[in-house]
Point group: C2
Chain length 156, copies 2
Amino acid sequence: MDQLAYDEYFIREALKEAEKAYKEGEVPVGAVVVINGNIVSRAYNRKETTFDPTAHAEILVIREAAKILGAWRLTDATLYVTKEPCIMCSGAIVNARIKRLVYGCDDPKGGGVVSLYKILNDKRLNHQVEVKSGILEEECRAILKRFFKELRESEN
Amino acid sequence: MDQLAYDEYFIREALKEAEKAYKEGEVPVGAVVVINGNIVSRAYNRKETTFDPTAHAEILVIREAAKILGAWRLTDATLYVTKEPCIMCSGAIVNARIKRLVYGCDDPKGGGVVSLYKILNDKRLNHQVEVKSGILEEECRAILKRFFKELRESEN
């Protein structure tokens, strides 16, 4: 399998997680952590249902992977997430020493990877992360658009 | 009580948490969340003992406060922490809609509030946070210096 097909496969798995968030009324973002081709952990945004402002998909999937591995350094891990991580999650990805980040669509209003900041490539920090964006971009954006459209309609 | 004495009182409480981290071999950073003059939650850095890269004092104290209040928006809260929050924690403070941040000493290598970024006053984000730094600065720095000095000595 070539790299693009490989990345698309795991973003599709992250999309399955986003779909779970959607069904629970959460902003639909999903993530998986992959090491050596195996999914170590899966998570989706659970901020509203858990009343936890830190319960973004990325934080939950990192915490779960670290718990399973018994180590806070995830140096061999690739994190796949449907949307560009926010500032908090970008910081967490660096703190966890994630090797590579792959995501679907940009977040112009809050993204910490390319949109507002470039935290994962900040040479002043003690770790940098490889980044690949735009994988299944349209599908990743479509589920967010669908969610926010329905939210606006329900509020009218 | 004037504002400075009030802030010093709660930074001293955060220092008690940092002391607990120190005793457990963790980088000694402590935090408390205060609402209307009452401490809602207390926490210290537990990254090494829990194998959790997100288990900084600020993340833990925010999660605990949100759990107790049953709400992810901590709009009336002041977060007291001994050291300038990192990028992850700065993002979390904005995400949690914390009203005010008070901290002891700066972190020139990793701080997200004044040192590397100014995340809490970024007008592009949907929330800004009042910031007061330098409260009991020397005490907050001293416990960190003591920790890293002993760590270096134990490694020789």
